[in-house]
Symmetry: C2
Subunit: 188 residues, 2 copies
């Protein structure tokens, strides 16, 4: 599973074997079962998670109506956490739990800052990842402002066809911000 | 106006005089009049802009109904560009124009990558800025999914009261994704 992390970093910057061994020593591998929580609401968020196996979601539950809004899915080769809580060392406003059995490599904020300070190329890697994440979120905001739910459904289907194989329709509806019934109409 | 940039960077990392002089030499100052465009749709986006004076907006116009959706406002001490087009060197899907007379410091992608590669502390600065931007966009997505337009109006009023002094109500409506008439009801 560590090879996936190495390939992931090397898409942006090459590493020597000893550099990668050193970087990897700052991650902790963990396994979770389907339905288990990695992050619970109101709890501290010490780790960012690089997914090496399985599928997770980050969601927010509205306290007034109990409705779940999904902010993000993540699977192999993706990162997920409550970044607001992680970077600012505050309590989580999100819940992160497993849609499938999951294996992750955990990176604490302390270790992230440590390897970024020690290895310029790792600081470069995380800057490039963060820039790409920022662009993806800007696109999602534009799509929320500018596209209908049905258009967003079709964009999602074209961009991430595998999501539709792996994620229950109820959760895709919660990601798009529509009811399960509305979603059924789109997929006809 | 360059002092604003120095203070802005030094909130994250201290600089020597010679470091700052070197960094600043990679920026080009420009002035624009109210209503002038910094970025036009379908054009290349060679620069990111650090605002030293004035107020701008980044927006997307729906080709079908001609409706303008505002993605971002920016004023003194903020950055603005079409980041998707800038980082990927593609044509802009956004328009960026001036709501007031504006002064900016322009940073080309080439120069950004150059000073990041040459100065580890600048790579650190931009990583930290990008992380903060990512968190802000996640919050905006959650608020679009989870809050009513009226709740978003009040969040905006509390977070950026000065915006309501400087920006016409029509543009605030375009940012919130509501009509001018709906906005008037919120502000009663």
């Amino acid at each position: 599973m560590s090879q996936l992390l190495r390939q992931h970093i090397e898409k942006i910057t090459p590493l020597t074997d000893s550099e990668f061994t050193y970087i990897l020593s700052h991650f902790t591998p963990k396994k979770y079962k389907k339905h288990q929580f990695l992050v619970q609401e109101d709890a501290p968020v010490p780790n960012d998670f690089f997914v090496t196996k399985g599928l997770l979601k980050a969601s927010y539950t509205n306290l007034n109506d109990g409705k779940e809004h999904i902010l993000q899915f993540a699977w192999e080769d993706w990162w997920i956490t409550d970044y607001q809580a992680y970077f600012n060392e505050t309590a989580s406003s999100l819940t992160i739990d497993c849609i499938e059995d999951v294996e992750v490599l955990c990176l604490s904020l302390h270790n992230r800052e440590k390897i970024c300070a020690e290895l310029h190329k790792i600081e470069h890697f995380f800057r490039r990842k963060s820039n790409a994440g920022y662009v993806a979120l800007q696109r999602r905001i534009l799509s929320l402002l500018n596209s209908s739910a049905e258009e967003r459904y079709h964009q999602l289907l074209v961009t991430y066809p595998q999501l539709f194989q792996r994620v229950p329709k109820t959760l895709i509806a919660a990601y798009l911000g529509v009811s399960r019934e509305t979603l059924s109409r789109f997929s006809k």
